[in-house]
Amino acid sequence: MTPYVLSLGIDLGNMPGRRDTGVMETTAETMTAALLPSPNPVQLIDPTGAEVEQSGTRRDYSMPSAARLRATWHAMVVGRRFDVQATALTKQGRLAVYPSSRGQEACQVGATLSIGSGDWLFPTYRESMALVTRGIDPIEVLSLLRGDSHCGYDPIATKTAAQCTPLSTQLVHAAGAAYGERRRGTDHVALAFIGDGATSEGDFHEALNFAAVFEAPVVFFVQNNKYAISVPLSKQTKAPSLAYKGIGYGVPSEQVDGNDPAAVLAVMDVALEHCRSGKGPFLIEAHTYRMDAHTNADDATRYRSSDEVTAWLERDPIARVEAWLRARGELNDDMVAAANAEAEARAADLRERMNLEPAVDPMSLFDNVFAQRTPQLEEARAMVRAELDAEVGE
């Protein structure tokens, strides 16, 4: 402890003397302040669509342009329709399971649209909407949940990791990939999604620490949707907010209204600027809410009230940015109708394609265990080949 304190030039053992060492005190406070999140979540547009006067935030956040907000609104409309469609397909038995992100559109869409095609994205199973926003074919996105393959898209070509199921394990991959980009001399970053429950996993902490130590440009984006399946945040942590978990690792952080697309974009801009300028990782906690159950297999009425859900309806991310855009003449009925029509057409296209049975080949089981099959794989493959041939012969 002592050497660390001395390195900051502060004598914590001599508290009364601190008034006389104003400069040193400022250094420590500045350092701490640079890491801490704002005391309240950053909000630029309130639920009614009104602009929020900025005060008390630890950094300056500016309102994104109307054009950018309109593009984000459009992608959220498409994203939500996709999400609703995926839930419907699950009810029809076309998907094995679907973890919805309805209500989290500002996070899924806002964060994803903030990064470029050269940046990495590390999604969890709940980020299907983010992947569609990223431009990946929805049918490839749903491959995992339909069950025809573990990952339907090419992670290298899309710079988008396979959707990760083991909680927070993808965060250390993000740290490694971001460090790799830094070593290659690029300014590419990694955006890594995680939920509130997963911040309790060890890999979350190891990832923040590794990224900080190696100055890896990662934006850790926590969607705090209040529940880890059924367990509420209050049983997950005693931290004032999840964003406060950054300071212990020397990682600056911010908390944001995760249902305010403008605030998500503004905070992402600050985080990305921080990462791209070589200062290491950044942690964002977005306060949002999972409107649907954990998955279609979950019954949310067992652990939360309908009043609680209804209250969050009033904080809808799409409605508020739509109101803001309309009030400024940046959006009209025709544009809304056109966006809805496009979302509907894309959903119809997805529905149609998902109703076709996917082609799966049992012989592909033995591919890609290794680059080349081992003799043991060849043996097992020959057995299955013979079984299949016998079936054909019957």
């Binding site: 991959h173 590794f210 081992t374």
Partner: protein, 337 residues
């Protein structure tokens, strides 16, 4: 020249770092210190901190970080300080390292090496002597390699680093100081090729890693008793060389599997099953196993009782139904009354 296994591993890392700029070595204490076993001695000094560096003390972090680096084209070689210290990384290894190529339909290969000093025999205190190869060998998608001499240590590690797939490189720590007269660089048979360490006609001992020298000593002693013992060193557990093992056992008609890991549900049982499936009609006796005991690895003062030694191997050989005498070791099992 005379080279220790540890020295050969160090030379392999040096040569790999020289051959390919994408190779990076990292882990706990591998930098300035050169690793607790000095396997990375001098690498940071020669290649700089960019190529060989210390990490925070967190094994899941080390392995997960390596996965991410593979995505950007690097070829990480990471060190787990001891066998049992690798367990925090188990989820990363089994859920991600092993499955990445498969779950991405071949799009993402992970050319990484996880070096694990393993097994006992060095008087180490608890958590420093586990034979953990079975966990990895049981996980599809991992190659599991274990040398037993300096030449193989060099050749197999170079091959592991060049391999497009993840390799768990199990280093028998008791053999780090074993010496061999060889010239480096050297090239030995590739992954999937076992090596006949001693020719024999009466019994085949199948073994690997730390048990190879013990098996050779037992074969020497058995010769004095009149048994001609062939000793096969697997070198790579995955992929497994059925061909060499089967050819030998079909010829000798008897087989003893020797491994330091405890026997239940382990690699030695897998070898015994494979031999039985493939050589049943050539066998004059059931396949015997000599392994570690089904107990946690003991305190150092008890490890000589735990470790499969020459006497236990000779005893197993003696029970292989010579002169058609049935082996009654397990006769009481399942008997009524």
């Amino acid at each position: 020249m005379t080279v220790t296994m540890g020295g050969a591993l160090n030379t392999a890392l040096r040569d790999a770092l020289t051959a390919d700029d994408n190779v990076m070595v990292f882990g706990e204490d591998v930098g300035t210190l050169g690793g607790v076993f000095r396997i990375t001695d001098g690498l940071t000094e020669k290649f700089g901190e960019d190529r060989c560096f210390d990490t925070p003390l967190a094994e899941a972090g080390i392995v997960g970080f390596a996965i991410g680096m593979c995505l950007t084209g690097f070829r990480p070689v990471v060190e787990m300080q001891f066998d049992a210290f690798a367990y925090p990384a188990f989820e990363q290894i089994t859920s991600h390292v092993a499955k990445m190529r498969n779950r991405t339909s071949g799009a993402v290969g992970l050319p990484m090496v996880i070096r694990v000093p393993y097994a006992g025999g060095i008087g180490g205190v608890e958590h420093h002597c586990d034979s953990s190869e079975g966990y990895y060998a049981h996980t599809p998608g991992l190659k599991v390699v274990t040398p037993s001499d300096a030449a193989d240590a060099y050749s197999l590690l170079r091959e592991a680093i060049d391999d497009p797939d993840p390799v768990i490189f199990m280093e028998p720590k008791a053999l780090y100081w074993s010496k061999q007269d060889i010239e480096l660089p050297c090239k030995r048979p590739a992954f999937g090729k076992a090596k006949v360490r001693r020719d024999g006609d009466d019994v085949t001992i199948v073994t690997y890693g730390p048990s190879v020298p013990t098996a050779l000593k037992a074969a020497e002693a058995a010769a004095e008793e009149g048994w001609s013992v062939e000793v096969i060193d697997l070198r790579t557990i995955v992929p497994f060389d059925d061909e060499t093992v089967v050819q030998s056992v079909r010829r000798t008609g008897r087989c003893v599997v020797v491994a330091e890991a405890q026997g239940f549900a382990g690699v030695s049982g897998e070898v015994a099953a494979r031999v039985t499936e493939r050589c049943f009609h050539s066998l004059a006796a059931p396949v015997a196993r000599v392994s570690g005991l089904p107990t946690p690895y003991p305190a150092p003062m008890l490890e000589q009782t735990y470790l499969p030694g020459v006497e236990r191997i000779l005893d197993a050989i003696s029970r292989l139904q010579w002169d058609d005498q049935p082996d009654l070791t397990f006769a009481g099992v399942g008997a009524r009354g």
